[in-house]
Symmetry: C2
Subunit: 255 residues, 2 copies
């Protein structure tokens, strides 16, 4: 049976600082929003607050770009120090053109600029910093899931999302760069359809669809709502992270 | 301000047959579900019911594969008649390997097998048919939007979604292959962020995020819920379709 799906923003989530305990902030915010977590609930967190809590800032003044970064910065018209960080965070540069460097991040995501973001970072023009992606977003999601599941005695899941560009299509969409407690792919290959024939291939990236749905609520330009509670979604509990979403290199036809 | 986002499946939507008036079916189903449409509401329809209402079935027995289709069918281990239809529906084959042909559809979407689907089609094994994408899904969406907006006197939007694969990531997600009444991209470039600095680039594919969110509710393996009412989403009214989601060929680095 299908049921209503609700996406509930946590209002007035505080600005996150390095060293903050995100699980505590989440518990306090849920309480302030008069929300508890129930079996089947899922929290989607914006990548930025996870990175901030983990102190993933890097002061550009402390970055010494190497020759590869300097050449690529020139070709793409970017800050060589930022390019140096992009290269350090990545396994491989897939494509580049002025303004954009598409890489495979160390964690396997294909991402513009390795997800390094200058927006929503406190402005210190004389000493700018950038914010890297979380060190291991599946592990971060799992730690939060354990803490919240214990606090509420509920079977829940956690997704960390980020806005990512796509091949062939304009605009970013929310995607899951970390998850815990759920199967990120819903494998519906072979489920009988309405007429009893087997579906040929229907493996659905449920975690990415949830990440995209939450992104609608989070908005983009302010950070007022970096946490969304999703209630009424169908997902399969599992002790796994988000890696299954990453296409195996040898099956990837678009590199 | 952020508000709760609700996705409400229309329960017991009837099976759609060629020639059915979808606007009438939608009005009846909304009534049966005791739902009206209000300003800001948005309906997401699964591509299949639009295609079916438009009679986009093709009997494979009537398809004569040409030499290109026969060669590509051999290379990809597919039915040559289906490959012939894929080629007819497409502008260009981007990639292929056994089981998969990635094309640019006539309407500009990059899509596996040109979106031609054998699942959820009445089983007539002796005389199988396939279902093509709607002829012009933006136009189909606009016709439905006009009818529904008039019936309820409300400013609404309509999206037609389909499950599509992505480069680099496993699993399909719902994407907008047609839309009406809304800006498919929310252009947030230059909106001030919390710290007053301009965002560098944040153009969000809102229509795709809505399509993905609705896909969660639709499920995949049955066709029990091909229509989802989205309430509480932020979208910008506009007299435009979904074409802005398609990346201009000269900016596309992944072909």
């Amino acid at each position: 049976m299908t049921t209503r799906l609700q996406l509930i923003p946590l209002q007035d989530f505080p600005l996150v600082e390095p060293g903050d305990k995100l699980d505590q902030l989440l518990l306090e915010s849920l309480q302030a929003n008069e929300l508890g977590l129930e079996d089947g609930d899922l929290l989607v967190l914006a990548q930025k607050i996870v990175s901030k809590a983990e102190g993933r800032y890097v002061r550009l003044a402390e970055v010494e770009p190497g020759p590869e970064a300097i050449a690529l910065a020139e070709a793409t018209d970017k800050d060589p120090r930022q390019v140096e960080l992009i290269l350090r965070e990545s396994r491989e540069v897939l494509r580049s053109r002025p303004g954009v460097i598409i890489v495979e991040h160390q964690l396997g995501y294909v991402h513009a600029n390795a997800g390094i973001d200058k927006s929503n970072i406190p402005r210190v023009d004389s000493d700018p910093s950038v914010l890297l992606l979380p060190k291991d977003s599946d592990r971060s999601a799992e730690a939060l899931r354990l803490a919240l599941a214990a606090a509420f005695g509920a079977e829940i899941a956690v997704i960390i999302n980020d806005s990512a560009g796509r091949a062939w299509r304009n605009g970013t969409v929310g995607m899951a760069i970390g998850s815990a407690g759920m199967e990120p792919l819903s494998n519906q290959i072979g489920d009988p359809d309405l007429f009893g024939r087997e579906l040929e291939v229907t493996e659905v990236a449920v975690a990415d669809e949830l990440a995209a749905a939450a992104s609608l609520v989070m908005g983009q330009a302010d950070e007022g709502c970096p946490v969304v509670l999703v209630r009424g979604a169908r997902w399969q509990p599992a002790q796994t992270g988000s890696r299954a979403l990453l296409r195996e290199r040898e099956l990837d036809m678009f590199r």
